[in-house]
């Protein structure tokens, strides 16, 4: 059977799909929307709002530190601001924005119509949103956390942090860890079970591989912080003594638990960026990525080794020498898979015909900046050197080189790359290039001098410093760089705001990419594909001919998707995805009520369980029409011709 989207039958199919996947208008419809593209875009937009807030906090800190002995911010406010900056960037921007991009792109890239558990997906977004809003409401009420984004005990414990500030922090962690876990679970299942027929493991695009590794890392890393933040809350609320040395607890236990999550967290932010870079390098070199297998292995081994490095955050705590050397070795080792990937990207560019358009420009900025961050990372992996520069501005420089260079630049490149797909319009390139150069120059101006500040003895997290220290001029330079960085971001924001309305209309595949998201219109319809595609090779669209089969035979009058087998992606069975529902939103409200209340009174936990239960009952209440008898009979054959 051949199918043609333009034929009358294709037209009818399209109309049926539109009815089945339509969302309700109005505010209730908006809150009930469980489409992955809507949720993904909300994730990204929300994350950038938090990014802007954290950026303002960063500028306030830079202005405070521009001169020695400044009195702009008092220490109480400064400590809240640096805690909010770190917490926001790590928990409310970097991780969610990567998940948001994945939620938007992955189902398109694997050629399906939604994620595996769309309602869970919506719940995950609302938990993230409410957690972030909760944190900022408390901050504006002067109840913002002030013990650092790492909340070391005993400073964050009941004795030295009375009041609710640290409880706010710990409970915000609960919100975001729940959200990240839900997102990760649904991405893993989608990638394993919903890939287009023919997309066997060895044909999965590298971005999807990166997201798979990343989501599995989230699933293994989050329980550690979940345990840690729960212990902390219990210590604070009901006087358990997990971290109290006077009662047999241990202050170092917190650090082990926190960094067992905290270091993989860095890779959770970085691994999706690797996938983005591979995608962009391949598309703009106009050739398949060099060393696909090596790249996949590098991603997977990064995921494993990332769990064996946490002690390098604790080199100054007085651990035994052998332990230090072991973790030094693991920390240095991780440079090897990263190196392999950089070499493969260079080889791809070398053998291809690169076009230096805006997304690739951001990726080139990434390579240069990240390389510096990676090399200082090797230095920090060395225990003796780390004992000198640990907790100084050298580390501030390093981590921004790694996170801004390693994650923000690829992310911006990826957003420029997928902007036409998401908005249906092209991003204006000239202001984009201006923005890039401002960001690149501003970034280096801000953070490069910090290496020297750290070596010359300036510790982190100080709200001021004496003039005699001689740190004033480098700090002034860094502040000036921060302003340039901010201007660059504003230029990019203006470009996006303009292009979303006035940009040139985008074709289905403006860059000539090889992955399946470019096989549908820009922006894609709610159901993504009229006929879901199949895959005949690693670079799906580059190897596809006119004869490449599509998936037909799925029912189009309800939300049906094709489930394929994990390894070879051969069709397995059909599944029906749920209808839009307000219940994920209501359940999120109920859970948030419980979480927020429980930092004030422990009895909110049992009391809050009631609305949560009501929410879940509403969520799972069977309300679709029962299957007609003949539908329950043997399944229709999938009309898949010449399976690849």
């Amino acid at each position: 059977m051949t199918v043609d989207e333009a034929s009358p039958e294709g037209q009818r199919e399209r109309e049926r799909l539109e009815r089945a996947w339509d969302t309700q208008p109005g505010i209730v419809g908006w809150l009930s929307n469980i489409h992955h593209k809507a949720v993904g875009k909300r994730y990204i937009a929300t994350a950038f709002v938090f990014f802007a807030l954290a950026g303002v906090e960063a500028l306030l800190m830079r202005i405070q530190l521009a001169r020695p002995g400044s009195h702009l911010l008092n220490p109480d406010l400064y400590n809240q601001i640096f805690t909010m900056h770190g917490t926001t960037m790590m928990f409310l921007f970097a991780v969610p924005v990567m998940e948001g991009v994945a939620i938007y792109v992955v189902p398109l890239m694997i050629g399906t119509r939604n994620v595996a558990f769309p309602r869970l997906n919506a719940l995950s977004y609302y938990m993230y949103l409410f957690g972030g809003v909760f944190l900022y409401v408390m901050f504006f009420l002067s109840m913002g956390p002030d013990a650092g984004w790492f909340a070391y005990v005993p400073l964050a414990g009941p004795e030295y942090a009375p009041g609710k500030r640290v409880d706010v922090w710990a409970q915000m962690i609960t919100f975001t860890e729940l959200s990240a876990l839900l997102g990760a679970v649904e991405l893993v299942v989608s990638i394993m079970k919903m890939r287009a027929p023919g997309m066997s493991l060895n044909r999965i695009p590298l971005f999807v591989w990166a997201i798979l590794v990343d989501s599995l890392m989230i699933i293994f890393a989050m329980p550690a912080i979940m345990a840690a933040s729960s212990y902390l809350i219990l210590d604070r609320l009901i006087a358990t003594h997990f971290f109290n040395p006077a009662e047999g607890g241990d202050a170092l236990l917190w650090q082990h638990l926190f960094w067992f999550f905290g270091h993989p967290e860095v890779y959770i932010i970085f691994v999706p960026a690797l996938g983005m870079v591979s995608t962009i390098v391949s598309t703009f070199s106009r050739r398949p990525i060099f060393g696909y297998t090596a790249m996949v292995l590098a991603l997977v081994s990064t995921g494993f080794i990332g769990f064996g490095l946490w002690v390098h955050h604790m080199f100054a705590t007085g651990l035994p020498q052998l332990g230090l050397s072991f973790f030094s070795a693991a920390s240095m080792l991780i440079a090897i898979p990263t190196g392999v990937q950089i070499f493969c990207w260079i080889a791809t560019l070398w053998l291809g015909r690169p076009r230096l358009e805006l997304p690739l420009l951001f990726v080139m900025g990434f390579v240069v900046i990240f390389l510096i961050g990676g090399l200082t990372g090797v230095m920090l992996a060395s225990a003796p050197l780390d004992q000198q520069v640990h907790d100084t501005f050298f580390v501030v420089a390093h981590l921004h080189y790694v996170l801004i260079g390693g994650a923000l630049f690829p992310l911006l490149g990826a957003l420029v790359y997928w902007f036409p797909k998401m908005s249906g319009r092209m991003l204006a390139e000239t202001p984009g290039k201006w923005a890039f150069w401002l960001l690149f120059a501003g970034f280096n101006l801000t953070f490069f001098p910090m290496h020297q500040l750290g070596l010359r003895g300036m510790p982190r997290r100080v709200y001021t410093y004496p003039a005699e220290s001689g740190w004033g001029n480098l700090n002034l330079l860094a502040t000036a760089g921060g302003v340039v960085l901010g201007v660059g971001l504003l230029v990019l924001l203006a470009d996006v705001a303009w292009s979303v309305r006035r940009g040139a209309v985008a074709a289905a595949s403006p860059w000539g990419g090889d992955t399946l998201e470019w096989a549908t219109t820009s922006p894609p319809p709610e159901y993504n594909f009229v006929y879901p595609p199949t895959v005949g090779g690693l670079n799906a669209l580059w190897v596809a001919t006119d004869q490449q089969p599509v998936v037909a035979g799925l029912r189009s009058d309800r939300r049906e998707v094709l489930i394929t087998r994990t390894v070879d992606a051969q069709p397995d069975h059909r599944a029906v995805l749920p209808q839009d529902s307000i219940w994920p939103f209501l359940t999120a409200v109920a859970i948030s009520f419980t979480f927020v209340g429980s930092i004030f009174r422990a009895w909110f936990v049992p009391v809050g369980a009631v609305p949560v239960l009501i929410g879940l009952v509403g969520w799972f209440w069977p309300r679709g029409e029962p299957l007609p008898r003949e539908e329950a009979a043997p399944r229709r054959q999938l009309a898949l011709e010449d399976q690849p």
């Binding site: 008092n74 220490p75 400590n79 070391y152 005993p154 400073l155 030295y160 040395p245 006077a246 202050a251 170092l252 060099f290 060393g291 100054a316 705590t317 007085g318 020498q321 050397s325 030094s328 070795a329 240095m332 080792l333 440079a335 190196g339 392999v340 950089i342 070499f343 260079i346 080889a347 070398w350 053998l351 015909r353 690169p354 230096l356 080139m364 390579v367 240069v368 390389l371 090399l375 090797v378 060395s382 225990a383 003796p384 050197l385 780390d386 000198q388 640990h390 907790d391 100084t392 070596l455 010359r456 003895g457 510790p459 982190r460 997290r461 100080v462 709200y463 410093y465 005699e468 220290s469």
Partner: protein, 317 residues
């Protein structure tokens, strides 16, 4: 004000020197790697269309590139192993204290000051001071570090790497100054509102002047000599000061704040926040929260006796 040296790359002791060597090795290796990788990146991006034509689609070019990528990966691994060996040997060297009999010093971290003990076999000969640590030049110093409240970190950039002070743990470290001088030390672990003002001073001096200093510190406080000082002492003992501070030889035996027995002999006030001058001392007494917002010391409710109190404190040499 006396502000000590504070640079990790300008070392004045054997440990910092060893680490600085490691730093320069790492720096030059990193610089080499950075230049090589960016050079390849630029050529890959901008090499001419003609040379691209030659390699386009050729299986041999593909193989050659594969060999280069493989080679580069192996070189990366070798560099990593090399650096690791240097790292491990440095770790060992730093952990091994020299044979010479070390001077023992105990340091206890507090929010936001440093309690310093020079223990002695005869308990009455032990010395307690704060925020200013005198050490003899050329002799290793064995440190025992702990904390009474939150986690702090002991760091003298010119002499040694950091070591944390953790409540419930006693960490050991050693350091040594090869030249006499003032070295700036600083808490490096975020410890609350006044983390920024938790500095200390290492005074490295020849063995003889160190011994003289230690002998001075062993003495109880000087008795008031003038009428002003006598009145000041009475003010001090009648105010809440004595609840937190110790002045040995008087009835002031408080343990929550720095020992003031020889306050006037110290170069700085409030853990390196201000120089120890008349005006600054007055400010610290009258309005400590202006000097160090959030500090645990309340303003001193002194009305007419301020000058006498200052005179007394300044006599505590």
């Amino acid at each position: 004000m006396s502000f000590g040296l504070h640079s990790a790359v300008d070392p004045s002791g054997p440990q910092a020197a060893r680490i600085a060597q490691l730093w320069w090795l790492m720096f030059w290796v990193s610089a080499g790697v950075f230049v090589a990788v960016t050079a390849f990146l630029f050529v890959a991006l901008f090499r001419s269309a003609v040379s691209r034509q030659r390699t386009a689609g050729r299986a041999e070019a593909q193989r050659r590139t594969g060999a280069v990528v493989g080679g580069a990966s192996i070189v990366t691994a070798l560099i990593i192993v090399g650096l690791l060996l240097v790292d491990v040997s440095t770790t060992r060297a730093l952990a091994t204290a020299p044979a010479a009999a070390p001077l023992r010093i105990e340091v206890v971290g507090h929010q936001w000051w440093w309690e310093v003990h020079y223990p002695d076999e005869t308990p009455s000969q032990a010395v307690t001071t704060a925020n200013e640590i005198h050490i003899p030049v050329g002799r290793p110093v064995a440190l025992e570090l702990t904390s009474r409240d939150v986690i702090h970190s002991f760091w003298v950039p010119s002499l040694q790497g950091k070591r944390d002070l953790i409540p419930g743990h006693v960490n050991t470290a050693w350091l040594q100054a090869d030249v006499p001088g003032l070295f700036h030390g600083q808490c490096a672990e975020f410890c609350g509102a006044q983390h920024a003002h938790m500095a200390f001073l290492i005074v490295a001096e020849p063995e003889r002047s160190f011994s003289a200093w230690l002998a001075d510190q062993r003495r109880p406080a000087t008795a008031p000599a003038s009428a002003d000082e006598t009145q000041g002492q009475a003010v001090f003992l009648s105010l809440p000061c004595a609840l937190c501070h110790t002045v040995r030889g008087t009835s002031a035996w408080g343990q929550n704040g720095p020992d003031l027995t020889h306050l006037a002999s110290r170069r700085q006030l409030a853990a390196g926040t201000l120089p120890n001058t008349h005006g600054d001392l007055a400010e610290c007494l009258m309005d400590p929260h202006r000097v160090k917002p959030g500090v645990k010391m309340p303003p001193t409710p002194v009305e007419s006796g301020l000058q006498a109190l200052l005179a007394y404190l300044e006599s505590l040499r």
